[in-house]
């Protein structure tokens, strides 16, 4: 059964603040095998003009995917999570995330459509600091595979 179109435009409440720590950034950089000193050495990051170590461009997924789960797990929408796969992802940064940021995400449902027996849900997560400084927007598309797919 197609998903409820009336969810398009729905805006979810801001997520609880996520505090970005140096060691979490290092752990993430290690996991993607990236030795770039901007992720690890505050002095190297400062030499590039950043206030502290910065996070890799896709680090944002840690906060934005949890935020998007508000939509996917919304019992009113009724998505079968076991059938969800990632379709597209895009990050548009106002500035890099850096250690010391306390980030909150406001998720908007941008589109819901059906194609080839699948439901396709597009969300936008606007990430800002708790002080209200915009940091990035994350555009994600999740595909809910239909029974025949």
């Amino acid at each position: 059964m197609p998903l409820d179109q009336s969810f398009v435009g729905r805006v979810y409440a801001p997520t609880a603040p996520y505090e970005v720590g140096r060691e979490k950034i290092r752990e993430f950089a290690d996991a993607i095998g990236d030795a770039n000193p901007a992720y690890r050495d505050p002095e190297a990051a400062k030499a590039l003009g950043h206030p502290d170590v910065i996070a890799p461009p896709t680090f944002a997924v840690i906060v934005t995917s949890r935020a998007a789960h508000q939509v996917i797990m919304d019992p009113e929408l009724g998505v079968d999570y076991s059938r969800v796969v990632h379709g597209e992802q895009r990050f548009v940064h106002t500035r890099p995330i850096h250690a010391g940021d306390a980030l909150t995400v406001v998720v908007t449902v941008e589109n819901i459509r059906s194609a080839a027996g699948n439901d396709i849900v597009s969300t936008r997560g606007d990430v800002s600091t708790v002080e209200g400084e915009p940091v990035l927007s994350a555009y994600g598309t999740l595909v809910v595979r239909g029974a025949g797919a």
Partner: protein
């Protein structure tokens, strides 16, 4: 000055099960399709598959290594078109190339990326927008 058509140094990334477990821990994505072969095959996958976001992160390294400052990447997007299957113990090898597709007066460059496993592309529309070095040197 960066010119359109400039090829970025290509890179290849071996991916094994341990890498997926480590990425699961770092990212918080513990979906068992990324580490449990029994579960993955039960839901119709050929085997354990890599996190799409892990592939996306590895592909971006071609851009951040080239740019030097990872903070120069202002926009980065991909479409996931084919799962990266990671059998044990063989693993998979992700081959990534990039080329400058546009370089504007605004100091921004666009890099088109190609990611292949076993000769087959796994991403579409993989593209990063980067502040080019000359411009980033002038920014505060």
């Amino acid at each position: 000055m960066t010119e359109v058509g400039t090829e970025l140094p290509s890179q290849s990334f071996p991916i094994g099960r341990a890498d997926l477990v480590r990425y699961a821990g770092a990212s918080g994505d513990f979906n068992p399709i990324h580490w449990n072969e029994r579960f993955a095959t039960e839901v119709g996958l050929p085997n354990v598959i890599a996190h799409g976001m892990y592939t996306m992160a590895l592909v971006c390294r071609v851009v951040t290594d080239w740019a030097g400052d990872p903070g120069a990447v202002v926009e980065y997007g991909v479409r996931f078109t084919r799962p990266v299957v990671v059998p044990d113990p063989e693993g998979a090898v992700l081959e990534v190339t990039g080329v400058v597709a546009a370089a504007g007066e605004d100091g921004l460059g666009v890099v088109d990326l190609t990611a292949k496993v076993n000769g087959q592309t796994v991403l579409a529309k993989a593209r990063a927008t980067v502040r080019l070095p000359a411009a980033s040197a002038e920014s505060p």
